[in-house]
Amino acid sequence: MSLLKSLTSNTVQKRLFASLRDKAPKITPQELYEPVFEDSKVYPEYSTINVRLQSYNFVPLEKYEGYVHRIAKKFKFEIVDCYAVAAQTQNIQTYKPNSTVVDSEIELSKYDRTVRISQVPSIRLPLFISLIQTHAPIGIEITVKEHEKVDEDNRYIPDLMLKEKQLELKALDDPAIRRNLGWE
């Protein structure tokens, strides 16, 4: 009987029922003692980005800053900080025609607001920028750039005493001064 079967068919009997071993969950070595949290980020992201808004007109600037903040929330970016920087002031003197007699003196200040965002996927940033451009108010200047240390330092008054002390500390490593210390 089996000889006849092996002569007529080349098939091998397949068991399609799962064995107990197959039913057991397959554990990788990483997830043995800790659960694995998968990173759901698909696209590469920019590091922190500063959206700087400058304008001579204060009211639309403040409203627009709020708008940019709201749009960034809609895009699900992480908003690190949303701050003001001291305004740049200008004194403009207009002269009467064909003379240097001062006609009028105008004091203008250019107000400065920044929204700092992070976790910006590479493909969403152009969408963000085009949406912001569409709703830009009159007279605003928008600068979108990557965050640098200088941007953060410009917010604060430089501490001269601190700088002096740091220079002194560094000077201790200077070979010319080390010779005068007397023990090398």
Partner: protein, 184 residues
């Protein structure tokens, strides 16, 4: 210096008198002999003191540049009661007209916002679909498409102006004087 002295001492112990500045120039200060261990301890103490001072300063160091538009001008706050004005009385027809315009405007603004949100949702959906398809078709192109765009940042954009350029406008002569407060 000390090594030379000790060597000479061992070689010609009784023949040579060695005093500190060997050259004996008038312009060299008479160097006091400092015990090397004492000097070492002195240097370590100085270093520690400087480091501690720097740390303390850094704790209290960050003073942000004052933003004038966010501070209260004390002088003007004091005479605020003198400058309170009463609201002008608006006739009923005008008030009605204004209310109607406000309604129309809020309707328009609401429609704008809905359109924006729809655009945003659609764009993100289409981006995801396109990238998924691209990944399926060619993984190399997909990887190139996902990369951060180097030419995008820094991005500078000026909002629209109030009017188009005025024909035949003669700008007056004058000077711009930058009066921004610098803290260096």
């Amino acid at each position: 210096m000390l090594k030379l002295v000790s060597h000479l001492n061992s070689a010609f112990s009784r023949n040579l008198h060695i005093s500190a500045p060997l050259s004996g120039s008038v312009f060299m200060k008479r160097q006091k002999k400092v015990d090397p261990e004492v000097a070492k301890v002195r240097e370590a103490r100085k270093r520690k003191k400087l480091e501690r001072e720097i740390r303390d300063m850094q704790k209290h160091s960050k003073k942000s540049k004052p933003v004038e538009e966010l501070t209260i001008d004390v002088r003007r706050a004091k005479n605020l009661p003198e400058r309170i004005r009463e609201m002008p009385v608006i006739s009923e027809e005008k008030a009605e007209e204004r209310a109607l315009i406000l309604k129309e405007y809020s309707k328009f603004a609401h429609q704008q916002r809905l359109a924006d949100e729809k655009w945003l949702k659609e764009s993100i959906k289409r981006q995801n679909a396109a990238l998924k398809e691209l990944k399926r078709v060619s993984p190399d192109l997909y990887n190139a498409a996902i990369q951060l765009d180097q030419n995008l940042l820094p991005f500078h954009f000026k909002g629209p102006s109030l009017t188009p350029p005025i024909k035949g406008y003669v700008s007056p002569d004058g000077e711009y004087v930058d009066t921004t407060k610098s803290w260096t």
